[in-house]
C-alpha cells in the first residue's frame, strides 16, 4: 500500500498532467461559483433594505441589513396559508405515495407471483404512453375531485418509476433465502411483508419518501389545473402568482398601511419569498443528499 502511494507520487508529476489538473480545477471552481453566486445574491438581497435593493447596491453581502422583506412576506394573507397547505399536501401526499408504491412493488417483486409479467407490462406501458392532459382532467373532474384537496393527492398517488426502484430493491437487496426460510416456518405472504421485508427496506423507503416529498413541495402544475379556491392552493402556486406579477397589490397584506411607505417593497418581497419557500428543502438537503444520490443508483439497476 505504502509502496503504491510512493509510486503514484513519483509518476504523477509530468508537466502535461499538472497543466490538465490546473485547467480542470479552475473550471470546476468557476462552475461552483456560478452555481453558488446567484443563491448567495438572492439571500443577501432578501436581508437588505428595500431602498438599497431598488438602487441596485447589492452585489454579494446584505446592504443595510433589515428584515422588512420577511415582515412583509409573513403578513401576506396567502403566503402563510399556502405554507400550511403545502405542509399538509407534502405530509399526506408522501404518506399515500409511499404506502401505495410499497404495496404495489411487493407482489410484483415476488418471483412466484402468478401473471407477474403481465402486471409489470401494465405498469411499464404507462411510462411510455398516457392519456394526456385533457382526458385526465376530464376524469378527475367527473369523479368530483376538481377543486378539492384530493386532486393533489390521488391522481398522482404513485409514480411507476419509483415503484420500479422499490421493486428492484426488494428483488436484489433482500436475500431470497429469507423468504424461503420464513415460508418453511409457515409465514404467510402478508406476514413476510410486514415482519421481514419492510424492516429491511428502510433504505429504499427513505429514498422514495424523499423523492415524493420534494416532488410535492415543488409542484404547482396539478394545483394550477385543479384548484381554483385560493384557500386550498399550495405555496408554489401562491408564489407563482406573486413572483410573476409585475405589481403587488397592497390589499393582499394584512396591514396595507404598513407596507405603503416601504420603498422597493416588491423586490424585497420577491427575494424574501424565494428564500422562505426554498429554505426548508435547502436546510434538509445536506443531510439527505446521500440518499438522493443512492436513489439514482437504485433506479439505474435494471431488475
Amino acid at each position: 500500500m505504502a509502496a503504491k502511494v510512493v509510486n503514484a507520487r513519483k509518476i504523477k508529476h509530468p508537466l502535461e498532467d499538472r497543466i490538465l489538473y490546473a485547467v480542470v480545477y479552475t473550471i470546476i471552481i468557476l462552475f461552483c461559483i456560478v452555481v453558488l453566486y446567484p443563491i448567495i445574491f438572492v439571500v443577501s438581497a432578501s436581508f437588505s433594505s428595500g431602498t438599497e435593493v431598488q438602487l441596485g447596491h447589492v452585489y454579494l453581502w446584505p446592504v443595510k441589513p433589515s428584515l422588512d422583506g420577511y415582515e412583509a412576506v409573513f403578513s401576506h394573507k396567502n403566503v402563510m396559508n399556502g405554507y400550511r397547505n403545502t405542509l399538509f399536501y407534502t405530509l399526506a401526499g408522501t404518506t399515500i405515495n409511499v404506502i401505495i408504491t410499497v404495496i404495489c412493488a411487493y407482489p410484483l417483486s415476488r418471483r412466484d407471483m402468478p401473471m407477474r409479467g403481465f402486471f409489470m407490462f401494465l405498469y411499464t406501458f404507462t411510462m411510455f404512453f398516457g392519456g394526456g392532459l385533457i382526458p385526465t382532467y376530464l376524469l378527475v373532474n367527473s369523479i368530483g375531485m376538481n377543486n378539492t384537496i384530493w386532486a393533489l393527492l390521488i391522481p398522482g398517488a404513485m409514480s411507476v418509476y419509483n415503484m420500479i426502484i422499490t421493486r428492484t430493491f426488494f428483488q436484489n437487496s433482500v436475500p431470497v433465502e429469507l423468504l424461503e426460510a420464513s415460508q418453511i416456518d409457515g409465514c404467510s405472504d402478508a406476514r413476510y411483508f410486514f415482519s421481514v421485508l419492510l424492516p429491511l427496506s428502510q433504505a429504499v423507503i427513505s429514498v422514495i419518501s424523499l423523492y415524493y416529498a420534494v416532488g410535492h413541495w415543488n409542484s404547482y402544475f396539478s394545483a394550477l389545473i385543479y384548484l381554483r379556491k385560493v384557500e386550498l392552493q399550495p405555496l408554489q402556486l401562491v408564489l407563482r402568482n406573486i413572483l410573476l406579477a409585475t405589481r403587488i397589490s397592497l390589499n393582499e397584506f394584512e396591514d396595507p398601511d404598513l407596507m405603503d411607505g416601504m420603498v422597493g417593497l416588491e423586490f424585497l418581497v420577491k427575494y424574501a419569498l424565494i428564500v422562505v419557500s426554498t429554505a426548508p428543502i435547502m436546510c434538509l438537503y445536506p443531510f439527505v443528499q446521500k440518499f438522493f444520490a443512492k436513489g439514482v443508483m437504485l433506479g439505474s439497476v435494471k431488475g
Binding site: P107, T136, P286
Partner: protein
C-alpha cells in the same frame, strides 16, 4: 380428434394450475388490488378518454355520447398556423437543450473524476447538486429578479462598468428565451446529471490506470482511452431516454417563462395544449386532446425507434427494453 382432446385437456390443466397458483398466492393479489385499481382509474381510463380527440366533446353529452368527427381536429391542427410554430419551437428548444446538456454532463463528470482530494470532491458534489432541488417557480422567479435591468444583479453589474446607465432588458427580447431556458436548465441540473456517470466511473478497475501509467500514458490520454469508453454504455442509454422526449418540452418551466413578448419563441406543444384545452374561455377540449395525442404518439414512436437503433448498433446490449 384425440389430439384436440389432449390439447384442451392440457389447456384446462394449465388454467387450473394458474387458478391454483392464484389461490395459493391470494394475499399477494390482495396487496395489488388498490394499486391496480388506481392504475386502471388514473392511467387506463384516461387512455380510453383519448377518443375525445376524434369526437366533438360536449360537456352535456359526456365523452361517450359526443359525436364522432374523425380526423377533423388533427387536420385542423396540421393546417393551422400554430402547427409549425409549436412543433418548431418544441424541437428547437429540446434539441438545443440536449446538444448542450448531454455532452456537458459527460465532460463535467470526467472532470469531477479527475479531482484527487476526496473532501474537495464531496464539497463540489454537494454544491452542484443543490440547484436541482429548487422548484421551477422559484427558478423562474430568480431569473426574472436577477435579470431585471433596474434592481437585478444583471443591472447592478452593468452599472459597475457603465455608471448611471441601464442595460437592455434581456427578458423583453423574444429571441433570448431559448438561451435563458437552456442555460438555466444547465445551471440547475448539470451537477445532478453527473451522478449516474460518476457511478459508472467509480467502477473503473484501478489496475487499468496503473498499467497505462507504467506505459507512460498521460492523465489526459487515460481519460480518453480508459474513462471515456467506460462511460459509453451509460451515455448511450441516457441518449436513448433523452431522444425519446425530444418532442416534449416540459410544461412547467416553459409556461412560467412565457410572456407577451416571447410567445413566438416560447409557445411549445404542451403549453399550447393547456391553453387551448383548459386555459381559455373557449371550449376546445377535443382539439387540445388531439394535439396531445399527436404529441404522445410521436414520443412513443421516437423512443421505440431510437431504442431499436441502439440495440442493433450495440448488438443487443445497449437498450431500454
Amino acid at each position: 380428434m384425440s389430439k384436440s382432446a389432449t390439447t384442451t385437456l392440457t389447456a384446462n390443466k394449465r388454467r387450473n394450475g394458474l387458478w391454483k397458483q392464484i389461490c395459493r398466492r391470494w394475499q399477494l393479489f390482495l396487496f395489488l388490488i388498490i394499486p391496480l385499481a388506481w392504475l386502471i382509474t388514473f392511467c387506463y381510463i384516461p387512455m380510453g378518454g383519448v377518443q375525445i380527440a376524434f369526437k366533438n366533446y360536449m360537456p352535456k353529452k359526456g365523452i361517450l355520447g359526443s359525436d364522432w368527427v374523425g380526423w377533423t381536429h388533427f387536420l385542423k391542427f396540421f393546417n393551422s398556423f400554430y402547427f409549425g410554430r409549436t412543433v418548431g419551437n418544441t424541437l428547437r428548444i429540446s434539441l438545443y437543450s440536449l446538444c448542450c446538456s448531454f455532452p456537458l454532463s459527460i465532460i463535467f463528470a470526467l472532470m469531477m473524476n479527475l479531482i484527487i482530494n476526496a473532501k474537495f470532491k464531496k464539497v463540489v458534489q454537494t454544491l452542484t447538486y443543490m440547484p436541482h432541488f429548487i422548484s421551477t417557480v422559484v427558478l423562474v422567479g430568480m431569473l426574472n429578479q436577477m435579470l431585471n435591468p433596474v434592481a437585478g444583479l444583471y443591472g447592478n453589474i452593468y452599472r459597475l462598468f457603465h455608471p448611471g446607465e441601464y442595460p437592455v432588458d434581456i427578458l423583453a427580447r423574444a429571441n433570448s428565451f431559448d438561451h435563458l431556458y437552456v442555460w438555466s436548465g444547465i445551471w440547475q441540473n448539470l451537477g445532478w446529471n453527473t451522478i449516474i456517470y460518476m457511478a459508472a466511473l467509480s467502477g473503473v478497475d484501478p489496475e487499468l490506470h496503473e498499467a497505462a501509467q507504467i506505459d507512460g500514458a498521460s492523465r489526459l490520454k487515460r481519460v480518453w482511452y480508459i474513462d471515456l469508453p467506460v462511460l459509453l454504455p451509460t451515455a448511450s442509454i441516457m441518449l436513448i431516454m433523452n431522444s425519446g422526449s425530444i418532442m416534449s418540452v416540459g410544461f412547467e418551466k416553459a409556461y412560467l417563462m412565457q410572456n407577451s413578448v416571447n410567445s413566438v419563441y416560447s409557445e411549445v406543444i404542451s403549453t399550447y395544449v393547456y391553453k387551448t384545452g383548459l386555459g381559455g374561455t373557449t371550449n376546445q377540449m377535443s382539439y387540445a386532446a388531439a394535439i396531445g395525442l399527436f404529441n404522445n404518439v410521436i414520443n412513443g414512436i421516437l423512443l421505440i425507434t431510437v431504442n431499436y437503433i441502439s440495440k442493433k448498433l450495440s448488438g443487443g446490449t445497449n437498450s431500454l427494453f
